[in-house]
């Protein structure tokens, strides 16, 4: 369609929304050895990833989501990208990479695209845990937020998963911001995002 108003997002988003790839079909008997689930129906989005990993390479992937068009399209794209990819590389995929491949998303829809890679990482973590390698990738691709204490975005994510809901709760678990405190704004932004996704 050439009319710029005929569809809200990019043509790539439309294609992946209307014909999503790798959606789990209960009848196909997909065999997986890694499962990850994230998000919350209360917040309007939830995501599940199933992977079949062979020799640390993602042989195949399936997913399901309760989510908006952007969530469906970005997860569909992600599921295509990771096939044949090593789990370490897949673990380090940034939502931004997916958004670029989708031809962009409006700013207020970016948070809808992060759920897919969270579910993917949860699935890879599940695989590692099942194989006695728990937490092996925890600091892969992590971004340091509190440089005084070397605390990363992944540490904040982990703290939220373990129950941190506010700044005090986050400090109790990570000691973040207890030296110079210069990271508070950035850390609180992440905290808010992770609470939305995981709480």
């Amino acid at each position: 369609m050439s009319d710029a108003f005929a569809w809200l997002y990019s043509d790539v988003v439309k294609e992946h929304f209307t014909n999503p790839k790798n959606v789990l079909n209960p009848d196909e008997g997909f065999v997986s050895n890694a499962e990850g689930m994230t998000g919350n129906i209360k917040c309007g989005d939830q995501m599940m990833f199933l992977l079949r990993i062979e020799g640390d390479v993602i042989a195949d992937a399936r997913w399901k989501t309760y989510g908006c068009a952007s969530a469906i399209a970005s997860t569909s794209m992600l599921s295509e990208v990771i096939k044949g990819m090593g789990i370490k590389e897949a673990y380090n995929i940034k939502p931004d990479d997916i958004v670029k491949r989708l031809g962009g998303l409006p700013d207020n829809k970016i948070h809808c695209s992060v759920l897919g890679d969270k579910a993917l990482r949860a699935a890879i973590d599940d695989y590692l845990a099942k194989n006695g390698r728990e937490g092996e990738f925890r600091n892969e691709g992590a971004r340091i937020i509190c440089s005084c204490l070397n605390i990363s975005d992944r540490d904040i994510e982990e703290a939220v998963k373990q129950g941190a809901r506010d700044w005090n709760g986050l400090q109790e678990r990570t000691k973040i911001g207890t030296v110079c405190g210069g990271c508070k704004t950035a850390a609180e932004e992440l905290l808010h995002e992770y609470v939305h996704i995981f709480a």
């Binding site: 569809w7 809200l8 439309k14 929304f17 209307t18 999503p20 959606v23 789990l24 079909n25 689930m37 129906i41 209360k42 917040c43 309007g44 989005d45 939830q46 995501m47 599940m48 399901k64 989501t65 309760y66 989510g67 908006c68 068009a69 952007s70 969530a71 469906i72 207020n108 829809k109 809808c112 939305h196």
Partner: protein, 388 residues
């Protein structure tokens, strides 16, 4: 079935009626300032006053002078709350009682007064979106300055028991305001029967132009201008007359009044056909809003397991224009405050779609939408983590 373009978002806005459009285009030749004393000005003013009488007649106002033209519903509502600000500062009554399901312009005006130190109560509603009269009675008292309750809800269509609410406000000696933006032109509205001191109206919801609305103020009800300036609207609302907009409002009001019974019966039948069609063809849906006391054109349905923005955009690709209560379509993280207030829970609020029908809606359009919604919901549910 052939692809159609179906507009079912009449509560968002309505198309301009051809008769209204033609009259406005003709009126564009009348450029004179309706405040001017010369002949051209007097002619322009006569058209404004005729429109005022027509709008007054639509809502049963005996005194057209008490219909004040504004730029729309938001301005009318804000004028009432600004008036309360002045009254509250000057007098002893300061309490504001409104509801959790008001339009954002009332909610935010009430929050503004709250921030200014006025005690504000946001009333709950029941599962159908009706104000709980016992809670209302318990919330008003000798300190209550204003009770503001919308006549009909824009999202779920629920129509309040206006006379009963008005009675409670009156008994407490409080002013009663109603945002009747969605009710006027869709159901019979009578300012005397409803006992309103103030009532908000908007023109673009009844097939007239955007950018014009009105505020009815009962004779004797105090009013403070929001916009100060010239002596237009008896000093209650300054600004050069919007000749064409006001003329269009008057004509649209007249047509709405003449056709109200026919409109109401026909659109309600279409709405119910649509409701029955959806309930019959899509498993496990929930129809939101009051089963009887509801706008004839409004059908709000929750589709558990499917997310609202995804439903809306799927319908959009089929040429069907609707609204959703999903957070994903609002830019915030919260779904519809109206549905949450009715207690449906976040998942049903995220998965809600508002179909609002209008005078141009046909049976074929309704059947087209019903035929499309089933497969769309089935597809989204098949890929959903929540199974139905």
């Amino acid at each position: 079935m052939e692809r159609r373009l179906v507009y079912m978002d009449y509560n968002a806005t309505t198309p301009l009626r051809p008769e209204v459009k033609a009259a406005m285009i003709e009126d564009l030749e009348v450029f004179a300032n309706a405040s001017s004393m010369h002949e051209a000005g007097r002619r322009a003013r006569a058209r404004v006053e005729e429109a005022r009488a027509r709008v007054a007649r639509l809502v049963g106002a005996d005194d057209p002078e008490r219909v004040i033209f504004t730029s729309g519903g938001s301005e009318s509502n804000n004028t009432v709350f600004a008036t309360m600000f002045h009254l509250g500062r000057a007098g002893s009554r300061r309490g504001i009682v409104t509801t959790k399901i008001e339009h954002p312009c009332v909610l935010n005006a009430a929050k503004w007064l709250e921030a200014e130190g006025f005690p504000v109560t946001f009333l709950d509603v029941d599962e159908y979106g009706m104000v709980r009269l016992d809670q209302l009675r318990a919330s008003v008292g000798p300190d209550t300055l204003l009770v503001s309750v919308m006549a009909a809800n824009n999202e779920i269509g629920t129509i309040q028991d206006m006379a009963a609410i008005s009675g409670v406000a009156k008994a407490a000696g409080a002013f009663f305001h109603s945002d009747a933006t969605q009710a006027v032109g869709k159901v019979r509205v009578d300012v005397r029967e409803w006992g309103v001191d103030y009532m908000t109206m908007s023109c673009h919801k009844l097939y007239g132009p955007k950018g014009v609305g009105a505020l009815y103020a009962r004779p004797g009800a105090p009013l403070e201008p929001l916009i100060r300036g010239g002596h237009q609207e008896h000093g209650f609302r300054a600004g050069t007359y919007n000749n064409q907009g006001i003329l269009g409002f008057g004509l649209a009001a007249d047509l709405a009044r003449a056709e109200l019974d026919e409109y109401s019966a026909r659109v309600r039948a279409l709405r119910n056909r649509m409701r029955d069609g959806i309930v019959a063809s899509v498993p496990k849906v929930r129809v939101n809003g009051h089963p009887e006391s509801v706008l004839p054109n409004t059908l709000n349905v929750s589709f558990p397991g499917a997310e609202g923005e995804a439903i809306l955009l799927s319908l959009d690709l089929e040429g069907i224009r609707v609204s959703t209560g999903s957070a994903c379509a609002s830019g915030s993280l919260e779904p519809s405050h109206v549905l949450l207030a009715t207690g449906v829970g976040p998942e049903l609020a995220h998965g809600s779609i508002r179909f609002s029908l209008g005078r141009d809606t046909t049976e074929a359009e309704v059947d087209y939408v019903v035929s499309k919604i089933g497969p769309i919901i089935a597809r989204l549910r098949a890929m959903s983590t929540v199974s139905y």
